[in-house]
């Protein structure tokens, strides 16, 4: 009997972290606002520490003493850690934007999220190495490492932002389509005169043409995105934004049409 009680206690203790761990994860689901607040705080910290490093390095360059060198290394370490924190939170924000973007293509989204996750894992390793980099050579090695990762980081961000933008356009088009269907139904079911109905139907057709233009812009932007994924350029967002611009004008127009149709 005693053994059974002891066994049950051990089991309960062993399972406790998993049970409570899960509830904690559920309770601490981050929101965009909380992520943004953390990101801004981290960025402020980074700017302050970067200024401090500039001062410390200048002093080291002037004095060239062991003490000033140690101080500069400490300052550099703090900058490296703060910078890694900014980047980690930034990629959290990007992941959150993609995860909550209903319009983004699911398979493309999975690929980008996986890229971001791998990047974040590497950033965490760099952060851990920076934490124990106590001499000038090791701290500088970590600085060089991030320098070598710049292109990769910008590319991942560019892909995520581009996909998010296309997704936002798809979401807008889907929403307009749903509302249009409902408006069309209400026009047909209403007791208005046939002349009025004809007028409204014309408006609805105009709206349909606008939606086709939005769809065409999305198709052009998507095909450009698909090509850009294989390229190494990290400035595709601007091109995609310009391809979507005519579509956005049509989105605004469609909204106005809908407002007119329900009058």
């Amino acid at each position: 009997m005693k053994r059974l009680i002891v066994l049950a206690a051990i089991l309960a203790l062993g399972l406790a972290p998993f049970v409570f761990g899960n509830t904690r994860v559920l309770a601490q689901q981050p929101s965009r606002d909380s992520l943004l607040a953390t990101y801004r705080k981290n960025l402020d910290d980074y700017r302050r520490l970067e200024d401090q490093y500039t001062v410390a390095y200048r002093q080291y360059a002037n004095l060239r003493t062991l003490a000033s060198q140690e101080e500069a290394v400490q300052a550099l370490r703090s900058v490296l850690l703060a910078r890694a924190d900014v980047l980690l939170t930034y990629y959290d924000l990007l992941s959150f934007a993609l995860e909550t973007n209903a319009g983004a293509d699911a398979s493309k989204k999975t690929l980008v999220l996986q890229t971001i996750k791998t990047l974040q894992d590497d950033l965490r390793s760099h952060r851990n190495r920076s934490e124990i980099a106590t001499d000038r050579v090791k701290a500088d090695e970590e600085a060089v490492y991030i320098q070598s990762q710049e292109k990769r980081m910008r590319l991942a961000a560019d892909q995520a932002m581009s996909l998010d933008l296309i997704g936002r356009h798809v979401a807008a088009l889907t929403a307009i389509d749903l509302v249009k269907k409902e408006v069309d139904q209400s026009i047909e079911a209403s007791a208005m005169s046939e002349t009025q109905k004809i007028e409204k139907r014309r408006g609805s057709e105009e709206l349909g043409r606008s939606m086709q233009a939005i769809s065409a812009a999305i198709t052009a932007a998507t095909s450009y995105y698909d090509k850009s994924v294989t390229s190494s350029s990290s400035d595709n967002l601007n091109t995609i934004a310009s391809l979507l611009s005519p579509g956005y004008i049509q989105i605004l127009r469609s909204h106005e049409y809908l407002q007119e149709l329900i009058k």
Binding site: R64, A139, E150, M161, R168, A171, Y248
Partner: protein, 124 residues
Amino acid sequence: MREELLNQTEFSQVVPKDPAVVQASVPVQPTQQKPPLKIILILAFVVGLLLLAVASVLIRQPKKTVQRVGTQTPLPTAVATPPSHLQEIVNNLEPVVKNADPLTNPNPFPPLDLRIRMTEPKEK
């Protein structure tokens, strides 16, 4: 002579009063003691405060007015009609439309210096 001089004080020449004369003098009447000025001032201050409080309460009291009931009953005011279902869904489109603006990037790449280094300073 010296002792005489030593015993002589400035009062040595004061002639003691005759006890009979002392008794005959008119006894001084005890004067009525006035309350000190401080207490009067404090009392005045307190009374002043009380008066002020009473006055302010009286001023604030709303005047009693008699409302005359008109013979005409007021007309019903227009009540704002709630937005229709369609109006509501079209209004809900607004944030989705704004969100699609390609010129606003909600997550731009952070402004970081990714080229910070700690090289050996050059010899002067």
